[in-house]
Symmetry: C3
Subunit: 334 residues, 3 copies
């Protein structure tokens, strides 16, 4: 495996194999599998879970990591082309990124969405610019439009919970957040659930419909897997017999990069804070998923997060396990 | 061993066994003992020695660490209950801490005293709230009222210096500091020396008497070990035949959380900066101990720190060694 | 090897042996050579390449690192003597540095030039003060006046490029930079190229002549190796038949520590931004070297950095390889 950027680059069978490997490495540790191997971790935006789950994943296989974030370079990294660097930034990504990559056997890169231009973010321009500078295998640790490690972890979590693949019903629901958030997690989750063969409903307020490009990609995956994809703003119909609700927050694609315009159409917070009444006609035992961090009392109630529905800690734990499998496949035979 | 929170949870014999193990691992390294094992390090307040001594301890045994501090989460961690998280903090400890712990085979937690409410700090409420969120073995890396790793290291240092256990005389002396400091180190040191069987005198100015709860706990340990515990503000009598002075700074328990009130009773700096004249009637070769960081010319003179009495570097080095023993006992058979 | 502070402490033969070892460890990894070994990394100024190249170098040999930077101590480290520490700094280097070193099997130290007093920096006073506090083997990770790891990497890079040692022509050229930069890299590069046996020309504007002490040290090395060392402000003659240009920026030694005075003599930026026309009478295929970070459009043009002449990424990659050799020699038999 030379890169891990998008679940769409893999067949459902290949993904299932990764998840099986994750389970095997969890039960039967291989603490020398990656001895002497090094994973570079480049974070162009802050991270908690992603950072430490990759650090722990490499360590459990006997390998190591090092971390780079922009503030570690003297006065930060410049990324613009053709610039005269007589200001604060002392270093350009065109030198920094190849060097960082060259110290590792693979590199994980996080490049958060700029949320200025929808087309740029849908095309993942920044992430592709970064990977074009790199010769080693690379891993998408969340880009403007994807978060494949989160999706792989969520797939494993769904398996572990015995949520059916074909015929399983998942609602991907918008939830309130103070800021306009990236599309990466909803885009990746939608596609993952479709590829897994689930019946997916995107539940969101007016003005928050996911872009056509994302819906079409997911519909293609659903067509191949026997799943289905739809979106609505009708909560009651969406939640009917739902087995999993996956809450996420995203900026209005309609007013992308224009916070003032978005604020005018943004619904009131309490109406989109996931809470127990949402589950009235859901399947009994319907699970609550969220990629974390989750804002209590804003995106989801304390009752849900502290109650039996919540599997958010299991999701986060799965991150480490699937990343072990990923790193094992990518690096153990090099 | 499922947790290491307080020397009081162990018998003197168990502690001596840990110290023997520390010496053995120092002389006969076991660089694969903890291969594939991971220690999570959660620092809710800054650290130098504790951080790097744990990193080095795990590494010498073939294991790994990862570090979490609040600023690593996007805008920090929320810890209050029932809060509507529409402000700066994006993540609550109730999700973050179980996730962090789940990436490790054990977790070390540092939670500095808030120094607002004496009862809360004596009861170590924040630390217990954090450990209640954790399923893995845990280590107290300094809490509001304890610092067992420091005490274990100091015990070893005293052994290495051949300071007698039973009959050895240790003065735990208050020393000047610009800020009201936590009770963790004096509380832990007092109890450690009593448990070791020493005759311990707490020397402190008026208004700085250690709380009854701490004295009583130490007296119980002394009763079992054949040591003794007392406190006084009479330096000459305290220092008589003293073999070790352990300097530490702590907030006035009488005016806990009320800095203005404390400032009124705080003695002048030069009178409580440990210096050579203090040792006039001490045992010849009386040692100077301090957990570091130490403020030169404020808590202790340059002469003492740079002179033959000072064993502060040995104490700090012992931290690494005893923590190796601790981690070995906790993790090598899991 | 007990310290690595200056290429001048080693014979050319010893350096060639290190470089051979670097090549061998690159081709035939020894991922357990340093198992259980720990390298302390103390950075008194920021670093990107140095930090991660040492982290990766230790990891590839099965060892580990930990990192200390001043901001990790509570309110920073004090280094002045005889000070009353009642201000912000809570810890003195006289305690901190021996403790940090004691947690490692060796320590790497970075202490950037203060650029206040030329004699102090030429004598590397701060670095020597720090190493005097340390009992373990140590490595200079860039001091006020040296950067031996960079020079060792550059030597290897020159070898890898088949640039001749004896008779090879290298121009060490001053290049524009917004700030007065340290003398460490030019001093180390000048000496390295002379020791390698090359004909070295220092090309710099009026007022930027390298201090006599540095020229004399390089001349001694050249005398032994059969190379030569000279300096000039005549670019055309300097670049004639040049095989390698090494660009670097340094403060005017004539106005050291006096930025206002330097600004008066500082040439215009475009005249000292390395660009293709500089190479008019150079050897065909003349390489461009730089230790990075490099300011695009300021120190060197985009065309040069993005073109075939640039070997800056190879130089940076060599850092990791030569440091592996260094650490192997220093630590594998301890």
């Amino acid at each position: 495996m030379n890169f891990f950027n998008d679940l769409a680059d893999f067949s459902a069978a290949e993904i299932r194999e990764l998840i099986l490997l994750a389970g095997r490495l969890d039960k039967h540790p291989e603490p020398r599998a990656l001895e002497g191997k090094v994973l570079a971790l480049l974070f162009l935006s802050p991270s908690l879970r992603t950072l430490i789950s990759f650090q722990s994943a490499m360590a459990r296989l006997g390998g190591s990591t090092f971390v780079v974030s922009p503030e570690m370079s003297i006065h930060g990294l410049e990324s613009r082309s053709g610039i005269v660097m007589d200001g604060i930034a002392a270093e350009h990504i065109r030198e920094a990124v190849p060097v960082i990559a060259s110290y590792g056997d693979a590199i994980g890169i996080r490049a958060f969405a700029k949320r200025e231009n929808l087309e740029d973010d849908l095309a993942d321009r920044e992430f592709h610019e970064l990977t074009s500078l790199v010769d080693t295998p690379y891993i998408n640790m969340e880009s403007a439009i994807n978060h494949p490690c989160q999706s792989l972890a969520d797939w494993k979590t769904l398996d572990d919970l015995n949520v059916p693949a074909k015929g399983g019903k998942l609602v991907l629901s918008w939830s309130w957040h103070p800021s306009p958030m990236p599309l990466a997690v909803p885009a990746a989750t939608l596609h993952m659930a479709a590829l897994r063969g689930m019946d997916v409903t995107v539940l969101r307020p007016e003005g928050y419909a996911l872009p056509d490009a994302l819906m079409e990609k997911a519909q293609q995956a659903a067509a191949a897997s026997g799943g289905s994809v739809t979106q609505t703003d009708d909560r009651a119909s969406a939640m009917q017999d739902c087995q999993v609700i996956y809450a996420s927050s995203w900026a209005s694609p309609q007013h992308y990069g224009d916070r003032k315009a978005e604020d005018k159409i943004k619904p009131d917070m309490p109406t989109w804070c996931v809470d127990e009444p949402w589950f009235a006609n859901a399947s009994s035992g319907c699970y609550f998923m969220h990629c974390l961090p989750a804002r209590r009392g804003v995106s989801v109630s304390d009752d849900i997060l502290d109650g039996a529905r919540s599997v958010v800690v299991a999701e986060a734990h799965s991150r480490m396990l699937v990343q072990m499998a990923l790193l094992y496949q990518m690096l153990s035979k090099r």
